[in-house]
């Protein structure tokens, strides 16, 4: 709040000479001066216009009600008026006035110098008092806002997540009970202490530092699936944000903690279970495939045409289940970040040639013409053999699956700049535009009349995407429903 430089002064004096002298000195300095010749008159002015009097120059030698009485009245009314008394010799009565609340006393025999020494100090005191008043009111306003403070702290406590707020030096300034119990802390042990002393995780500390420095890399990290940090035995999902003041400067950081210890354990259990189930499924499926195959081949006696037909279908279904189980295993492995098991120098041309040879049979069954153009002199590529095979197999078998009888599938492998480019083009049923953004989602399958009879897990493309990503490559798809689909995989080569 701005303090006016000129001051409203009320001079209360019945000695006209003194009154005039005061008035003249004050007006010359630009202050607004009012006068009163009695206590009653002064009181009337103060009561009528309470804000119009900042300082009162009050004679202690007034008739009727004495000046002292006025001081007491004003003090009781809690007026913010600074009272400067004037008397002949500033004796006992002056001291009594100061006790009652007056600021100081000026002898009426003052010189201009002396007058100003005292008055300037009084003006300064008044300004400080007023400033103090402003600050006090502001503080009260803030406090009454935090009068919701109890509610606020109840809200913070009611979070099931832990909350920790630090200042810009990463000292903890706020934490809720859940954070305290999560990390085995007490308010005393935590408040005012560096977070690194209370929650042992270098990763977490780095998030706080980055939040405080307003590091731009933090936001995208927190926007996706929030990071999980290990603190002792616990796995905690964290979300750290900077705390900013009105000007946008980070003055601290706040973090929400979500305990995922049991969820992590469940995820491990689920993966182990999935893996176990897959293996337990694969062994009997191996037997089943072998049994059906030998019977179908007539090794266990002659078959009627109908029996052959039915067994042929049973064999296809069995193979479909085997693919599904393999997909589940592949998918789990990619989830675990193990899609690259071994990096070695790969002869991409040879791998594709062999894969295409394997796929040729199923293409021929559907009377699909499959061409395979492999450029000579491909740049050398290092990667995971199983992964690359999975890319080839999945994309080519999809092309065959989703292309009707008599269609074409063209596979090419060549060099494009520093990349090896693998391209599969078919003239099959294509991908409807509304589905194209979701084809890499796990378990996503396009459901149309045409695809109804085609079996699959919906994992193939998400597996391919996972492997391509793990090799720092890219995959893109162009398709038009009814016209065909083109998948292009680009993998960075060494050269």
């Amino acid at each position: 709040m701005l303090i006016k430089s000129s001051i409203n002064i009320l001079v209360v004096e019945n000695d006209i000479t003194v009154l005039q002298k005061c008035r003249e000195l004050l007006v010359n300095e630009g202050h607004r001066v009012r006068t009163a010749e009695s206590v009653e008159e002064a009181l009337a002015i103060v009561q009528k216009q309470p804000g119009e009097v900042d300082i009162m120059l009050l004679s202690l030698e007034l008739p009727g009600w004495g000046g002292l009485t006025l001081i007491n009245v004003l003090q009781k009314a809690k007026r913010e008026i600074l009272i400067m008394t004037m008397s002949a010799n500033c004796g006992e009565e002056a001291i009594e006035a100061v006790h009652a609340g007056a600021y100081d006393c000026i002898r009426k025999t003052f010189t201009a110098d002396r007058f100003w020494t005292k008055i300037n100090r009084a003006i300064e005191a008044f300004r400080l008092r007023r400033q103090l008043g402003v600050l006090t009111r502001q503080r009260q306003a803030v406090l009454s806002e935090v009068g919701h403070d109890e509610n606020l702290s109840a809200i913070l406590q009611s979070f099931t997540d832990g909350l920790v707020v630090t200042d810009w030096q990463t000292n903890i300034v706020l934490l809720n009970e859940n954070a305290a119990s999560l990390f085995d802390l007490t308010r005393e042990k935590a408040l005012g202490h560096p977070i690194s002393d209370c929650i042992k995780s270098d990763e977490l500390l780095s998030f706080f530092m980055r939040a405080i420095k307003s590091d731009s890399s933090l936001a995208p990290l927190m926007a996706g699936e929030e990071p999980v940090v290990k603190v002792g035995e616990r796995a905690v999902r964290v979300h750290v944000d900077p705390v900013k003041n009105e000007t946008g400067t980070a003055i601290g950081a706040a973090c929400l903690f979500h305990d995922v210890t049991s969820i992590s354990a469940m995820a491990k259990l689920r993966d182990d279970f999935l893996s176990m189930v897959s293996h337990e499924l694969k062994a009997p499926l191996s037997s089943l495939l072998m049994q059906i195959s030998v019977v179908l081949d007539g090794l266990a006696g002659d078959l009627s045409a109908k029996q052959s037909d039915l067994l042929g279908k049973a064999k296809e279904k069995t193979k479909g289940m085997i693919t599904l189980v393999n997909d589940l295993l592949d998918y789990r492995r990619i989830q675990e970040g193990k899609s690259i098991q071994k990096i070695e120098n790969l002869d991409m041309a040879e791998i594709l040639r062999r894969t295409a040879e394997l796929m040729r049979l199923s293409a021929e069954e559907k009377e699909i013409t499959m061409s395979c153009d492999i450029a000579e002199e491909l740049p050398s590529f290092t990667g995971d053999r199983g992964g690359v095979e999975a890319i080839f197999v999945n994309l080519i078998s999809n092309a065959i699956k989703y292309t009707p009888k008599g269609g074409n599938v063209n596979v090419t492998l060549n060099k494009a700049g520093k990349e090896i480019r693998f391209r599969v083009v078919d003239n099959g049923m294509g991908i409807p535009s509304e589905d194209i953004d979701r084809i890499f989602d796990k378990f996503y399958r396009i459901k149309t009349e045409e695809t109804r009879s085609i079996s699959g897990s919906g994992l193939g493309l998400s597996i391919v995407k996972g492997i391509v990503d793990a090799h720092n490559g890219s995959i893109r798809v162009e398709s038009e429903a009814g016209k065909g689909t083109t998948f292009v995989v680009s993998l960075p080569s060494e050269a």
Binding site: A283, L285, S286, L299, A300
Partner: protein, 127 residues
Amino acid sequence: MKKVLLVDDDVDFCEATKLLLDSKGYDVFLAHDGKAGLEKALAAQPDLVILDVMMPEMNGYDVCVVLKADAELKKIPVILLTAVDQHMFKTTYTNVMGCMTEADDYIAKPVEPEELVKRMEELLPKN
């Protein structure tokens, strides 16, 4: 007639595979655990051994190690046939266990009958 020893604890798989191999003109011996497999190998002196990996008594790797440590038996080609995670099989086992056991080939279960026969023929000495 070429003698083939198939060691696998899955009796149904053995039965069907025996039918397949019989039809291809092999003399097929069966064993359903590692120990029995090793005894049959010593007794029958097969031209090729197909070993499952996860078996009771003695697993396929251990059987393979014993076979390959024997001056006479080590010339018999060994195919490891397993339902262990295909990828693990191709990497971990090929590299670590494979080197240790010196198996001659590895095939992931499930295997197409034609593929199995093709891989066997590649390892058997030509007449």
